[in-house]
């Protein structure tokens, strides 16, 4: 795991110095993160990197997990989908299951933080243990259009916190507590984002049988309708009439997701007759994702809906020109025609791709601008800074705080 000084060559000494200044102001406070899983998923991924870095900076940071059985996690999965706005049948029994497991966790989890930082809905009820310490609820879910029944249920807990944290402005709700905006981040030193030698990139393209004899357009995403892989193929088909290129659609397996398997079948069916379309079923392998992004000419993220869409920042960090839908957190990452091209339709995506393929200098400039935008706004160091500022905000009122 990299230490904090390894970020200095990337973000500059002064940014790391600022992190140390903030950490000094938190000396003596215990920060306790609580979530539901130690591995898998974005929350665990970020905590695995953040907790050691906060400790290294001198912030006494703990990380605890709640427990739950299959039924509990089935309910929280339903909550998750409902908060995203998907139609879900949620009845009293689901709430009862949630409350029963929550009560058990309320009794058993050792709460010892001066600041208790609860991630997502699963451990939300722990706030019943609130004493004279400070509580933050971190919502990693897109709640711009939540199922009202589930939101109303969770709101009863949320209002007992000191503050809530959301990832995009549109996720904020009318609440009687303070709400902060903290966008997610990528770790420039992780396997998914660190620099790779050209041989490592070439080896991955060879392994998957993708020649780089012509421009490669790539979308890396789960095979999910919301990522619109069929729309990407349609856009590619329009481009292909004028610009010879390849298309790579790479994503994880969807063994536990029947709809995902169906989408994958449709994608395979649609691409069968074109040898320049490469559908890659990737195992969870961050280095391979990194190599595919680095070796591609253009990265596409044509999602119909996105929580935040951090794959865009991953691509921009590699200075790749990006064509992405104007949804979720993507417009925060891409300024149209400056650090990438935004689109709203298949035709728009195709037009943007053609522009980039025929103007490589323009494409390169977009990628370079995008990399600087990510350096300033979407790296882990900025995320660490924001978390420490939220911790400090719990002890200071007003809009200008002299520390």
């Amino acid at each position: 795991m990299p230490n904090i000084d390894e970020y200095v060559p990337i973000v500059g000494q002064s940014i790391v110095d600022d992190l140390r200044l903030l950490a000094e102001r938190l000396r003596g406070k215990v920060v306790q993160h609580v979530n539901s899983t130690a591995v898998g998923g974005g929350v665990a991924e970020i905590l695995n990197r953040m907790v050691p870095l906060l400790r290294e900076l001198g912030v006494d940071t703990r990380w605890d997990l709640i427990k739950g059985g299959e039924q509990f996690f089935a309910v929280t999965k339903k909550f998750h989908n409902a908060l995203h706005g998907s139609p879900e049948e949620i009845g009293q029994r689901d709430f009862d299951v949630f409350l029963a497991t929550s009560e058990q966790n309320v009794r058993e989890v050792d709460i010892r933080g001066d600041i208790v930082f609860i991630h997502d809905p699963q451990p939300i009820a722990l706030v019943k243990r609130r004493d004279d310490n400070k509580w933050i609820w971190r919502c990693h879910v897109d709640v711009s259009n939540p199922n009202r029944k589930v939101w109303k249920f969770l709101r009863e807990f949320i209002v007992r916190y000191d503050s809530a944290v959301f990832s995009a402005p549109s996720f904020s709700q009318t609440l009687p507590i303070r709400q902060f905006l903290i966008t997610p981040s990528i770790d420039p030193l992780s396997d998914k984002n660190r620099e790779l030698p050209e041989e490592a990139v070439a080896a991955v393209f060879e392994k998957y049988g993708v020649p780089r004899d012509k421009p490669v357009i790539t979308q890396i995403s789960r095979f999910d309708r919301l990522k619109d892989p069929l729309g990407v193929i349609a856009a590619y088909a329009q481009v292909k009439r004028y610009n010879d290129c390849r298309l790579v659609l790479a994503g994880g397996t969807a063994a536990d997701d029947p709809e995902g398997a169906q989408v994958l079948r449709e994608v395979q069916e649609r691409s069968r007759r074109d040898p320049d379309i490469h559908v890659l079923l990737l195992p969870q392998n961050d280095l391979e994702v990194n190599a595919l992004q680095r070796g591609s000419t253009i990265i596409v993220q044509k999602s119909l809906k996105e929580g935040f869409g951090l794959t865009v920042s991953e691509a921009l960090w590699k200075a790749k020109p990006v064509v992405a839908s104007n949804v979720g957190g993507i417009p925060l990452q891409v300024t149209h025609r400056y650090s990438g091209l935004l689109c709203h339709s298949v035709e728009g995506a195709a037009f943007a791709l053609k522009q980039l393929l025929t103007s490589p200098d323009y494409a390169r400039k977009l990628g370079e601008n995008g990399r600087e935008h990510v350096r300033n706004n979407f790296l882990l160091t900025r995320h660490l800074r924001d978390y420490m500022l939220v911790f400090l905000s719990l002890y200071h009122e007003g809009d200008i705080v002299n520390l």
Binding site: G12, Q13, S14, I15, D17, D18, L21, L22, R25, S144, F166, P169, S170, S172, Q173, T174, L175, R178, Q179, F180, L181, I182, V327, T335, R337, Y338, S339, N369, E372, H373, N376, N377, R385, D386, L389, V390, L392, S393, D399, I400, V401, N402, L403
Partner: protein
């Protein structure tokens, strides 16, 4: 005074880190935007007129305030967008007066173009009001003379430059930027104080501003 003179009081560099606080207020129409503009805290007006300076530390094609951007791109009102984008933020000594100007421009536009009130943003494209919370921290960097000042300016964060150039003048209502104030009152260097005061910092990137100020100071000390 000699350009190598030592000041009686050193310049202490501060840095300012900001956190975005969501207000939960949103607008879909010009009328709603106007209503909230009149009542949101000054820290929200400040956020939406200064956010781009820190988020895009290079010149981007975006208008210099979020109101202009939203009115142009989501309401499709290019004329009003252009008028909002051309509000000269550097001319306003307080947030209150800046707010009044923004409100005034929109009111005038609605009066002349009543149909502008009928435009609305698509679902998901509403304007979300955000506040900027500033955390001001004193750094270990001190400068006693112009040479030391230029040397520190080379290595401090752009957040520090931002704090002393923008926040001190407008948000803390000190009348002018901290650098000019120190040059003038502690070193008697009215020439460079004025030269820096005359810059329109809103048309520079923060890095560019750093280089420009260093150049002014170094010229004075004959480097």
């Amino acid at each position: 005074m000699s350009p190598t003179a030592r000041a009686q009081n050193p310049f202490r560099f501060h840095t300012r880190l900001h956190l975005s606080e969501l207000t939960g207020l949103r607008a879909s129409t010009l009328a709603q935007l106007l209503e909230h503009l009149r009542s949101v805290p000054g820290s929200s007006i400040y956020h939406h007129t200064h956010r781009y300076l820190q988020q895009h530390q290079y010149l981007s094609p975006e208008p210099p305030n979020d109101f202009a951007h939203w009115v142009t791109n989501e309401l499709g009102d290019e004329e009003l967008g252009e008028r909002l984008a051309s509000i000269d933020t550097v001319r306003f000594p307080t947030i209150r007066r800046l707010r009044n100007r923004i409100v005034g421009v929109i009111e005038e536009h609605i009066e002349k173009n009543p149909s502008a009130k009928r435009r609305f943003a698509d679902e998901g494209e509403e304007f979300h009001f955000i506040k900027s919370i500033s955390f001001v921290i004193s750094t270990k960097h001190l400068a006693w003379d112009l040479g030391e000042f230029a040397a520190v300016l080379e290595k401090i964060t752009v957040d520090s430059i931002y704090y002393h150039m923008f926040e001190a003048r407008l948000r803390l209502e000190r009348g002018q930027n901290d650098f000019s104030l120190w040059f003038e009152t502690s070193l008697g260097e009215t020439g460079i104080a004025e030269e820096i005061s005359r810059l329109d910092p809103y048309t520079h990137t923060l890095e560019n501003l750093r280089r420009t100020i260093i150049r002014i100071v170094e010229k004075r000390i004959g480097r």
